[in-house]
Point group: C2
Chain length 202, copies 2
């Protein structure tokens, strides 16, 4: 907790709320049009500001995108409680997160669109996505290894490969789900894949 004067409380809260409005609008715009094609004017319209008004809160378009990614990562981290669980429990939480994501199609679309866009080395958030996968794959691999140590994993499973495939499966399912949400249930497929690797129920 930090001490705040009443004047600070009032003004900062208003600014913070404004920033959050802009972030939400940016999600809508960038998820539909991608980052490069999405425009600040479009973001500004949705929050009832001018384009210059948006740039007062975020100094550039790229800064805005980075703020969106940081905000969403924090949300997912809190939702999964990923700092306190591991092994099978974490895999279960992952399936729950995928199920939850199905209620936020805009955010799913944002990451699907951005991760593809950002494969180009000069994309503004290329490094973010390189880092993201370089962290995520070993992190899941560790959970598979813990499961293996507990005798819960089929003996012929390669943990590194399983982790990489699981991430790929989740990414790929997003595209199919976005194209036709009635025919795909991402959580069901992810759960089925993980179960096929285990000797116990998930």
């Amino acid at each position: 907790m930090t001490v705040t004067t009443s004047r600070q409380r009032g003004e900062y809260a208003k600014t913070a709320a404004r920033r959050q409005e802009i972030l939400s609008a940016a999600v809508e715009v960038f998820s539909t049009s991608g980052f490069t094609s999405g425009s600040l004017r479009d973001v500004a319209e949705r929050v009832g500001l001018s384009q210059a008004g948006v740039l007062h809160h975020f100094p550039s378009k790229t800064h805005l995108l980075e703020a969106v990614l940081a905000w969403r990562d924090e949300e997912s981290r809190l939702r999964m409680d990923s700092d306190h669980i591991e092994g099978l429990e974490l895999l279960r939480a992952l399936v729950d997160l995928v199920a939850y994501n199905q209620s936020t199609p805009e955010l799913v679309e944002l990451y699907a669109t951005l991760s593809a866009e950002a494969t180009s080395p000069d994309h503004p958030v290329h490094d973010y996505f390189v880092q993201r996968y370089a962290t995520m794959v070993p992190w899941l691999q560790r959970s598979f290894e813990l499961a293996a140590a507990g005798g819960q994993l089929r003996p012929d499973v390669d943990c590194g490969s399983a982790a990489r495939q699981l991430v790929a499966l989740m990414d790929g399912l997003q595209v199919q789900w976005l194209l036709d949400r009635t025919s795909v249930d991402m959580a069901v497929e992810v759960r089925r894949y993980i179960r096929s690797l285990l000797t116990v129920d998930l």
Copy 2:
């Protein structure tokens, strides 16, 4: 075979060659920048034409993209010989195609970028990708069903789910591979996944 005069042969060949040059340049541009952000001027520069010159051969930017997709689909179809094989043989050919794709990173990037972009319902090639997956999944499903009928598939495998997961896996691996080609071998992972479903070697 069709009959051609010498005059036709000469002029048509030149035009066809030019069209092919433009298609190749378009692959480079659209794969790097996506369709919406990629520009006709950029395509034109790469083939030494003006932007208007490009539009003489393809009446609009969207027509150009559609020609690129049709050309690449035909190439893949011929390479896989997919009209004449099925079952395990087709799954083997699919792994070979994935291995071959690793020699054409630009085309991989094109499809990864486009399939994400095109999830938006108003994207110019949205319908193309909807159709693509609606065809591809049942087509792979049939190969799994043939394998099952031949006793080559593990009895607990759901063919529809396996087909969907296989397509998702291939798509998702592309993103990881594009971000870091040294750490991912798409063909190895796809082969490993398919083998995990079979009772026989692939």
